[in-house]
Amino acid sequence: MSTKNLKFTKQNKKIVGVIGASPKMGVTHLSLSIANFLCSALKKKTLYIELCDDSQLLAVVGDRQINFDDHTGFLYKGVTYVLACDVDEAMQLIDSWEGFIVVDFASYSKTNSIVFQRCDTRILIGSMTPWCQRNVYQIATKLKGDCMEDISYINLKNDKSERVLIKKEFKWNAFVRPIIDNPFRLKESDFEPLIQIIK
């Protein structure tokens, strides 16, 4: 793997937001992979914000509770997790955290769009299969008023025609979703596709 795409690591702060066009697109899986990559592979101070009402991750990462800057979080494999976070808390964390931040959006809405607008790297996972295509157009409509630009679109399969269509329709850069077996046990081969998405 070449280090030429690692220039972004010189930044002290970078916010990465991940949303899904449809449910079960693998938003949490990709968010965890990015957070663990930043922390364990690049040794960056990393905060993971789970923007949702009910935490999916408490059972996995909730062993070691920590308190910082009036927030309660959990430390797991070096990453600080703030779970079941609301928009106000997320905004406070984004303002105060000195380091890299990964925001896992359970669902994109008008309420949390303000958080997505703050992200430096905005990632949308979607699929243009006939039964999911409508969701992509719907979320594109929602994003139009907020932050349509600079979206990295991740499609689930390696389909060139889909990537061309996405570029033509929405002017988004499309990437193939990296296949990562375990976001808590990354392999070096997982690094390159993650760098492509984050940079």
Binding site: T3, T9, S40, P183, R185
Partner: protein, 430 residues
């Protein structure tokens, strides 16, 4: 209480220990005239079954260094266990009038590790010996044997075991009835090592002292994690590394580079030595044990490559300290330049130590007690010739002067010359 009903087979030679309900005897087995140990316990004694459990424990151990159980028998009143009588001198007796060499010390310690390793790898799960003391280590010419398994226990049953052991020899968690694992025996072997060290010609050997302190750390989390690790560390000290390393022994060295204070250039010298060795065809890897220097280099080197946890850039190779969420990489074979910063303790784990001293008057230089050791090389950096001559005189040790360098990323001819001289003179890896 001497058991009845044994006189037809055994003659009592010596009573080693006797209470109202127990006895330990040296007996003569009449049929073949062999000495044996007979341990007897009354059926009504609360620990009556301990004899049976000792016999069960010893059954699954594949080692000639523990006594053979000959039989477990019973009479109307007593259970008794007959085992091999281990002749020889205990380590305590031996060290009463003998001062041992480092070689003997290492031989005994490694042999002791072997028997404990056999216990920890026993069929049916690890056995914790729990009773390591010099009286239980028997020396028979070149063989070391371990006796008295009275309080040994299976690891799976250790939580229920009574907090037994000898004060000053047993691990603190053992005496406090804390959770037990194999590390209680690491502590025991560490204490034996310390006892031998105090009765040896190598009392001040800093590597052995360091090993003792790591094996006998009161905090179980900081203690050496297994008897195999302790044994390998002893083998390294003995110069007999594992077979897998033997082929490339000269190429598998850990060279610590440590500064006497901050900002004396230890990192730069370690990186440059790594570059030099690779340039000359020796596989060398820079490793920063505690910091993230290699990660910082990764961000700043143009055109570097990463493969199997190693950062490659020109002649530089650095080991990346990945965090817990990245798959562990197999360490490559070669010379390791370990950047210890100013941590002198960390440097003690390496085969050779290079100490970097600065010459600035405002820098407080901290020289360790072992600076005079022949495995330690002293380099003066960023300092004048006069101050280095003074330093050499005060420490009575050769000081190499590292040249001033103008290049940020490269290796100047003068640097190459001095590194080559240091490596050759000090036999660091040629």
């Amino acid at each position: 209480m001497i058991p009845d009903g044994i006189s037809d087979r055994y003659d009592i030679v010596q009573i080693l220990q006797e209470t109202a309900a127990t006895a330990v005897l040296i007996v003569n087995y009449k049929k073949i005239g062999a000495l044996r140990i007979l341990k007897a316990i009354h059926r009504a004694h609360p620990n009556a079954h301990s004899i049976l459990s000792e016999a069960h424990l010893l059954q699954g151990i594949k080692s000639s260094q523990i006594p053979t159980i000959i039989s477990v028998e019973d009479t109307d009143e007593m259970y008794y266990l007959v085992e091999e009588y281990v002749e020889g001198q205990s380590l305590r007796e031996y060290l009463l009038d003998t001062t041992i060499t480092k070689e003997t010390l290492l031989n005994i310690a490694i042999s002791l590790c072997n028997v404990i390793e056999a216990l920890h790898n026993a069929d049916g799960g690890p056995i914790l010996y729990r009773d390591m003391k010099p009286e239980h280590v028997i020396l028979q010419n070149d063989t070391v044997r371990l006796i008295d398994f009275g309080i040994a226990v299976r690891k799976s049953e250790a939580a229920k075991a009574r907090p037994l052991g000898t004060i000053n020899w047993a691990a603190p968690e053992q005496l406090k009835a804390g959770p037990l694992d194999e590390r209680c025996d690491v502590f025991g072997v560490g204490k034996i090592l310390e006892y031998m060290l105090n009765n040896s010609f190598e009392k001040d050997d800093y590597r052995l002292r360091k090993l003792v302190s790591q094996a006998t750390d009161e905090d179980i989390q900081n203690r050496i994690k297994s008897i195999t690790i302790l044994k390998n560390r002893l083998l390294e000290l003995q110069g007999k590394t594992n077979k897998k390393y033997a082929d490339k022994r000269d190429l598998c060295k850990k060279i610590a580079v440590v500064g006497t204070s901050h900002a004396v250039g230890a990192t730069r010298i370690a990186i440059n030595m790594c570059r030099f060795l690779n340039k000359k065809g020796t596989d060398a890897y820079y490793k920063d044990e505690k910091g993230n220097n290699v990660h910082n280099l990764m961000e700043n080197f143009d055109g570097a490559k990463i493969k199997d946890g190693i950062l490659y850039h020109d002649n530089f190779r650095g080991i990346l300290n990945y965090g817990e969420a990245v798959e562990t990489q197999k360490p490559p074979k070669g010379v390791y330049l370990i950047d210890c910063g100013v941590d002198m303790e960390a440097a003690l784990d390496c085969d050779k130590i290079i100490v970097i001293a600065g010459g600035a008057l405002w820098q407080k230089q901290c020289f360790p007690d072992w600076i005079g050791d022949k495995t330690v090389t002293l380099i003066g950096n960023m300092s004048g010739k006069l101050s280095m001559i003074k330093l050499a005189k005060s420490l009575k040790k050769k000081v190499y002067m590292y040249p001033h360098s103008t290049s940020i990323m490269g290796l100047s001819k003068e640097e190459e010359r001095i590194i080559q001289k240091i490596l050759q003179d000090e036999k660091l890896c040629y």
